[in-house]
């Protein structure tokens, strides 16, 4: 397949993505994480059909980088709000803490396993452990939105799920900036790791402030696109050139805009609908990047990481059910529902693969891809059961949905 045909294919996917977020009637269709496009990318990619060859995939690296960074910007801009509601500060900390706990558990397991059962150099072991922890730390907010919209759920647990899912993004974005700054090859050798983290986040903050200043007092939508796109691309390219984390830089930029710009809601309303059209081509490319031809030890470690993530999530849910009245009686289901991962996990894995190519990053990307599939299989269904248990959804789906509810996973019902 040549580059133009592939590009057209990606544009068609983006078109589909825009339709998926375009109308209320069609919302809720497709899988929450976009896992089907991941599988499509994998099947079309070099591992299965080779319709899309490795060199072609590699030539689209700038597209991947820009897509990943744009996801970072969208996450940053929408970080502090769910729809029109502010995320309470304590929920932000809770979301970060949950991510950190899961990440630490996965990292610990991978570190131990990789040190003991593989002959990877120390640096690779640490990089693998850290990156695996980061990709497992996310809960996709799309999964929560999918279930909530489809079943018309409302209540404390729905809010908690949405808030913690949104808050989990900060941990991943920050941690990735640390990993990228720590890995060999980063520019600014005179700076410490912390200094380089400061540069990548500082770059985002400076560009965010610049964009906020330029957007000024009056909001002009057409002019705003140029400013947002320009600052995002400049931040992405600058961070990539320094071998720092573009995703972290654009996340910081988005968060800065969300905090200081008087047009934060306009900006959020403008760029949030672009997430899906940008994401689907990126997810497809991620699928094409996935490499399953890895040493057995690494494949086993990927599975171990997934199992540890699952256990850690369930334990976190159970712990939450003791401390939070919203979760009471639905702890394990709520914990399982937090397994859903998607855009950010894949974006982190892709960014890591671009920054540090090799078997370790291939393993991390495989882990992210499997995490998406497992999360899609278990997450939405578990959230629906948790919400049903605490009485926040009725047994019948909302009128917007035509398909009947059943015991099958919610994501599969949409196919009915």
């Amino acid at each position: 397949m040549n580059a133009v045909a592939f590009l057209l294919g990606l544009l068609v996917l983006a078109y589909l993505g825009s339709i998926l977020v375009g109308g209320r009637a069609i919302r809720g269709f497709g899988l929450a994480s976009g896992a089907e496009y991941l599988v499509l990318g994998f099947v079309l990619g070099p591992q299965v059909l080779s319709v899309v060859g490795r060199s072609l995939v590699d030539s689209f690296q700038p597209v991947v980088l820009v897509g990943v960074s744009w996801v970072g910007l969208v996450l940053g801009v929408s970080y502090l709000r769910v729809a029109q509601r502010n995320v309470p500060v304590r929920r932000v900390f809770l979301g970060i803490a949950l991510s950190a706990v899961v990440s630490a558990c996965v990292s610990g397991a991978v570190f131990f396993g990789a040190s003991t059962f593989t002959r990877l150099p120390r640096l690779e072991v640490i990089a693998f452990a850290a990156a695996a922890g980061i990709v497992c730390s996310e809960t996709t907010r799309h999964s929560v939105r999918w279930v909530v919209e489809r079943y018309g759920a409302a209540g404390p647990l729905s809010d908690l799920a949405a808030d913690t899912a949104r808050a989990s993004a900060l941990f991943a974005a920050l941690s990735l900036s640390v990993v990228n700054a720590w890995l060999p090859g980063a520019a600014l050798p005179a700076f410490s790791v912390l200094g380089r983290v400061g540069v990548s986040l500082g770059l985002g903050v400076v560009l965010g402030l610049t964009a906020a200043l330029l957007l000024g007092r009056e909001f002009r939508r057409d002019e705003s696109w140029g400013i947002l796109l320009g600052t995002c691309l400049l931040g992405t390219g600058a961070a990539a050139r320094l071998n720092l984390s573009p995703l972290s830089a654009t996340f910081a930029m988005g968060l800065t805009l969300a905090i200081v710009s008087p047009h934060r809601l306009d900006i959020k309303a403008m760029i949030t609908p672009t997430e899906k059209p940008v994401l689907l081509p990126v997810v497809l490319l991620a699928g094409a990047y996935v490499n399953v031809r890895l040493p057995t030890a690494l494949l086993v470690l990927v599975v171990v990481a997934l199992v540890v993530k699952l256990i850690a999530r369930v334990l976190c849910g159970t712990l939450l059910s003791v401390t939070s009245s919203a979760v009471r009686g639905a702890g394990s289901e709520f914990g399982l529902s937090m397994l859903s991962s998607g855009a950010l996990g894949l974006a982190v894995a892709l960014a890591f693969a671009v920054r540090h190519p090799g078997q370790v990053s291939d393993s991390v990307l495989l882990l992210a891809a499997l995490g998406v599939l497992v999360g899609e299989w278990l997450g939405p269904g578990a959230l629906r059961r948790a919400l049903t248990r605490v009485g926040e959804i009725k047994t019948e789906p909302s009128p917007a949905s035509a398909a009947p509810a059943s015991a099958a996973p919610a994501s599969l019902e949409s196919r009915a």
Binding site: Y15, S18, V66, V206, F219, D222, I227, A240
Partner: protein
């Protein structure tokens, strides 16, 4: 391109824009100095961001002294480009060529959509005379000037009279080419409405076709003169005829398809335009269709055979607000400043004579066609700009006549650089003086109110 012509922004706003421009330059300057080595492909990402942001800001700042936005985009590209600060290198500029393809597609589509049959009828007489006189007077006179100063050109040394005439005729064709992109850029920024705007748009879009035919004719005539052997062959015309017909046919089909899509679906036009700009342009080139002409025909069909023209134009304007900035800023980065210095005096003489004969031909044709006074005065103003089309012609000539082609092309690049910088300024000045510029700011609205923090 931000589409407004007025300059009502406060001093504070301008200060912020200047500060932001410095930040933009500073960020990329710092990064390129700290990490001069480029990762493959990734340099283009920062370059696009830089050109977009710096171009937008520079255009806003130059607006205060009455210069068109297009000059700001070009200047940002020149300063950031390989010959001044080297923030964007040669390789990256070449990598950004898909943006040019997209921009040219949008420009042609918009140009076609702006041409209404009723409008064309109203300026038909003037258009016909202008086409005839601009094509003949400018071609012949500029070719004469070229002949007279050929001794100053290293690549023309020792050339006999016949080849000299042949090369001069080819330069004359180059002088007749105009810049649809510059014209659309200025009209998009100023939102100008009136006889000068209408005439300019119609003339320049039609002159595309005329120039292509003229080039084929002159190459046919020049070949025996330059090579000394061979005869005049009509094969070029046959090929050209096929290309023009197939381009129009493909364009009409595309236009009908677009009109149906706009009417029945009418959504996600950004993605549709991207697919057309990137995908179809490449496909057209592959099947030997002139994409500029095809898109021109498509836009024309949408406007004149359906009621979807305004919707199409609005979408192109929205997409173009980003794409055109990068396109012109890249063109600025592409300008070869050292070459301009080297060929400067001769290029200035040729550009000056071209401008002079363009004005003379414009005045004569307006008088003969009994155009309104404003056209008699300013109709020539949009015809000075040159850009991609002229460079494209020079590439064709270089390939066809390798003996002098390289030098010819270098001179063309230098001349186009001058016309590219001066032309848009003249056109905007003329539109301002003719009172056709829209001085209203685009609508701003109060921002959404954030909910109280819990």
């Amino acid at each position: 391109m931000s589409g407004h012509g007025g300059s009502r922004k406060t001093l504070g706003t301008r200060a912020i824009q200047l500060f932001s421009l410095l930040v933009t330059f500073g960020v990329l300057y710092g990064v390129t100095r700290v990490a001069p080595e480029l990762e493959t492909h990734l340099g283009s990402v920062a370059a696009v961001g830089f050109l977009l942001l710096a171009g937008t800001l520079m255009s806003e700042l130059l607006e205060t002294i009455g210069l068109p936005h297009l000059s700001g985009y070009l200047l940002a590209g020149i300063i950031g480009g390989p010959h001044v600060l080297h923030l964007v290198d040669h390789h990256t500029v070449e990598e950004l060529s898909p943006v040019n393809t997209l921009a040219l597609s949008l420009i042609a589509l918009a140009g076609g959509a702006e041409l209404r049959v009723a409008t064309l009828r109203s300026v038909a007489r003037g258009l016909a005379w202008a086409t005839l006189l601009q094509s003949t007077v400018v071609l012949v006179c500029v070719a004469g000037v070229f002949m007279s100063i050929a001794s100053y050109l290293p690549f023309m040394h020792g050339m006999a009279l016949k080849p000299l005439i042949g090369v001069s005729l080819l330069w004359g064709v180059l002088a007749v080419s105009r810049s649809p992109s510059a014209c659309m850029g200025i009209l998009s920024q100023t939102r100008a409405k009136g006889p000068v705007a209408t005439f300019s748009l119609a003339f320049i879009m039609l002159s595309d076709v005329v120039v292509v035919i003229l080039l084929a004719t002159m190459m046919m005539l020049a070949r025996p003169l330059i090579n000394g052997s061979g005869s005049i062959s009509l094969d070029d015309f046959s090929i050209l005829g096929h290309e023009i017909l197939s381009s129009v046919a493909v364009g009409v089909t595309l236009g009908l398809g677009l009109a149906i899509y706009l009417r029945l679906v009418g959504r996600q036009l950004l993605l549709v335009l991207l697919a057309i700009g990137f995908g179809l342009s490449e496909s057209f080139t592959y099947i030997g269709v002139d994409s500029l002409l095809a898109f021109l025909a498509a836009g024309f069909v949408v406007t004149n055979l359906s009621d979807q023209g305004e919707k199409l134009l609005h979408s192109i304007e929205q997409t173009g607000s980003v794409v055109f900035v990068v396109f012109f800023a890249t063109a600025g980065a592409h300008l070869d400043i050292p070459l301009l210095k080297q060929m400067g005096p001769v290029a200035v003489a040729l550009c000056g004579s071209r401008a002079l004969f363009t004005v003379i031909a414009g005045r004569i044709s307006s008088r003969v066609a009994e155009d309104p006074a404003v056209l008699k005065r300013w109709a020539w103003s949009s015809l000075v700009s040159q850009a991609g089309l002229a460079l494209g012609l020079s590439v064709v000539i270089e390939k066809a006549f390798p003996s002098f082609g390289a030098g010819f092309r270098s001179l063309a690049i230098a001349a186009v650089a001058i016309n590219e910088m001066i032309g848009p300024i003249l056109f905007k000045f003329a539109l301002d003086r003719a009172g056709e510029t829209d001085r209203h700011e685009p609508e701003a609205r109060p921002s959404l109110v954030p909910p109280p923090v819990r």
